[in-house]
């Protein structure tokens, strides 16, 4: 099981092979767990969402397609979709916030700079951490709300009482800063 690629594991999972799911869990639980905890900042909710993510992996019909990029990015997309879905359901219970399902379906997936293993992921993480130092408070808050908490641009504009153009512009700048520092620090 340990020599199998993620693509092979996902095929085995489709055939309901339990050890394959356990292997994927062992390989990615740390990433998935950290991701969700970062988004929810709540251990109990994180447990619930981890459960949802692995149940989705077990039952998904449209599984991972290796032609569309690295497995880790696909897994993170699935994890983020489920996490944001969870956030939105929670929010919906409090106030009604309209949102479109296709916003969740479309998560960009870069095939460049995909980490191949834990070591390179760790390296990238360190780089991202460093790049964050160049961001302002409002830029960090924007990423937190948009990426981690799943708010839409217009929702954030409303929360901040700012025009949506300002939010878009800020996001554009934020991503550019992140990207430029990552590239610089990685010695490109």
């Amino acid at each position: 099981m340990q020599n199998k690629t993620e693509t092979e594991l996902m095929l085995l999972i489709k055939e309901k092979h339990r050890p394959a799911l356990e292997e994927l869990y062992d390989r990615y639980i740390k990433l998935v767990y950290s991701f969700i905890l970062k988004s929810t900042r709540d251990q109990e909710k994180t447990r619930v969402i981890v459960q949802l993510v692995f149940t989705r992996l077990w039952t998904t019909e449209n599984g991972y397609n290796p032609e569309k990029g690295q497995f880790v990015n696909w897994l993170l997309t699935v994890t983020r979709n489920i996490t944001i879905d969870y956030h939105r359901k929670e929010k919906r219970d409090r106030v009604f916030i309209p949102f479109k399902q296709e916003q969740l379906d479309y998560i960009p997936d870069s095939s460049q700079n995909d980490p191949e293993d834990v070591v390179s992921r760790k390296l990238i993480r360190d780089q991202v951490q460093k790049a964050y130092q160049y961001l302002s408070k409002s830029q960090i808050q924007l990423i937190q709300r948009l990426y981690w908490e799943g708010y839409t641009l217009s929702e954030i504009a409303e929360m901040n009482q700012e025009p949506i153009g300002t939010i878009k512009s800020r996001l554009h700048q934020t991503l550019k800063i992140l990207r430029n520092h990552l590239v610089l620090d990685m010695g490109e």
Binding site: Y25, Y33, V50, Q112, N113, L153, K168, R179
Partner: protein, 238 residues
């Protein structure tokens, strides 16, 4: 480090990037990207940065009991729920079948019991009539004390044979006397008996309506009561 693209589409790229905007807006940007190389480059860089965000994760300890909880939940629903449903169906089916069987057997018993009661009543009112008496003599001519009778009688439609025997030696261990009805050289069992201290033995045998007739009777001492053909020594016969 220029962060602002000169193109007017610049800020709308982020909506496209994160999957927001109407289909028309998205299609518009898609078309624009085909012709504007600076926006395309911009877009690629934004995508890179966006996909890097999840890597800013702190090292956290995953609770060690989480795996068991996750797997348990997944495989419990997998295995038990469909099985449960199946079992319930099976259980209901079995319960229904058992109930029907029980009901049918009560009915059946009732019918049988009624018939038997009828027969007993009928029998009690019907006189028994002797058809034939067989005299049984010892196979050892000198042993005149060993003798017996077999009386065939009819009561209503029922035919019975009653054996009365005396002067027989006591049986040892598993030994038993075995009565055989003989028809065209073939022997069939009519039952087994033991004798009392004085050597008396008795046996009744009911002849079924469909049963073949018999011409002769033999009684043998068998090593046990289970044989279907004589194995031991013949002691009495017609």
């Amino acid at each position: 480090m220029s962060t602002i693209n000169s193109c007017s589409f610049s800020d709308d790229l982020v909506s496209y990037l994160i999957g927001e905007g109407s289909k028309e807006e998205r299609d518009g940007i898609k078309r624009h990207l085909l012709t504007c190389s600076s926006c395309l480059k911009d877009m690629e860089e934004l995508q890179e940065a966006w996909s890097m965000i999840p890597y800013k994760l702190d090292d956290v300890e995953v609770p060690s009991d989480l795996k068991e909880e996750v797997m348990h939940s997944i495989f419990q629903t997998e295995n038990i729920q469909p099985k449960k449903r199946f079992n319930l169906v099976k259980l209901y089916g079995m319960a229904a079948a058992i109930f029907l069987l029980a009901f049918a057997s009560v009915l059946w018993n009732n019918v049988i019991l009624r018939n038997q009661l009828n027969e007993v009543t009928k029998q009690a009112q019907t006189p028994a009539q002797v058809i034939e008496v067989f005299t049984l003599k010892s196979s050892t001519p000198s042993n005149i004390l060993t003798q017996g009778k077999a009386i065939l009688y009819q009561q209503g439609e029922k035919k019975q044979l009653v054996f009365q025997l005396e002067g027989l030696a006591d049986t040892k261990g598993t030994q038993a006397y075995h009565v055989w009805l003989i028809h065209e050289g073939e022997r069939r069992s009519a039952g087994v008996f033991h004798v009392d201290e004085e050597g008396h033995g008795v046996l009744t045998y009911e002849l079924k309506e469909t049963e073949a007739p018999f011409e002769a009777i033999g009684i043998s001492l068998e090593p046990d009561a289970n044989g279907t053909q004589p194995r031991g020594q013949k002691v009495l016969g017609t």
